[in-house]
């Protein structure tokens, strides 16, 4: 059997990978993908701890996190499309001014 610790360690490693992606990548779409990795890492700890506590709430909140992730992806990708129309690039360094 696998203890709870292993799931939490895996979740922490995935979250760190997501964080590294947000900082290292110069591409808005990949930054959004890294955020999805981080959300999934958190989901994994929710489900693992819910299983440990014998409670169903961990899966319920995972369900809500997925819903929020869907909304975030829709709005975020719409923003990416709008930004790409203005500047023809996806590098975050190109978007340093609030208004143009």
């Amino acid at each position: 059997m696998v203890p709870l610790n292993s799931y939490l360690i895996l979740s922490g490693i995935l979250f760190a990978i997501g964080t590294a992606g947000v900082f290292l990548r110069r591409n808005l779409i990949t930054v959004l993908l890294s955020i999805e990795i981080m959300l999934n890492a958190v989901n994994l700890s929710f489900v693992a701890i819910g299983r440990y506590l014998g409670s169903v709430d961990g899966q319920i909140i995972t369900f809500f996190v997925m819903t929020v992730a869907a909304a975030e992806a829709a709005v975020g990708l719409a923003l990416v499309i709008a930004l790409f129309r203005h500047r023809e690039t996806l590098s975050p360094d190109a978007y340093t001014s609030l208004k143009w």
């Binding site: 939490l8 995935l14 590294a20 909304a71």
Partner: protein
Amino acid sequence: MDTIAFYIFAAIAILASLGVIGQGNPMHSVMLLIVSFGALAGLYILLQAPFTAVTQIIIYAGAIMVLFLFVVMLLNVPREEPVPLTAAGLLGPTTMKIGAVLSVVLAIEVVWGLSRLGPTWFSQDAEAAGVSSVARIGNVLFTDHAFAFEATSILILVAMVGAVVIARREH
């Protein structure tokens, strides 16, 4: 058996996630992220959460990632600048260096802290195993969390309208 499956799924998830942030083609990144989500769904099944595993496949791999793929194809994004996970990428601008260091520190902290605790085992009795049946989830979702569920529908409506308005072409 469970242990072997856990380590296989964990290795797939970590390697695929590293691949997502490690290479320049956004299309390949999306594909690798789908692989990672599949491995996570396997882990949910090991945790006796089949409903969450199926939701993971249908909503994440099926819907959200297809949305990402649409945008990648729509924008026809060229490959970005050289792969950042090389030594040159890590020694790049200061912000990137700080970010990489912070995320490595985070991983080390989590691994160190959790491995100093003794192993915490899941309970094995049938009552705990049956906790995540779909019937039970639906029962709790539509009674205790009914308000959050309804609020979610408004959130999705707002996100849908917002996405349409933001991405609309201005004349």
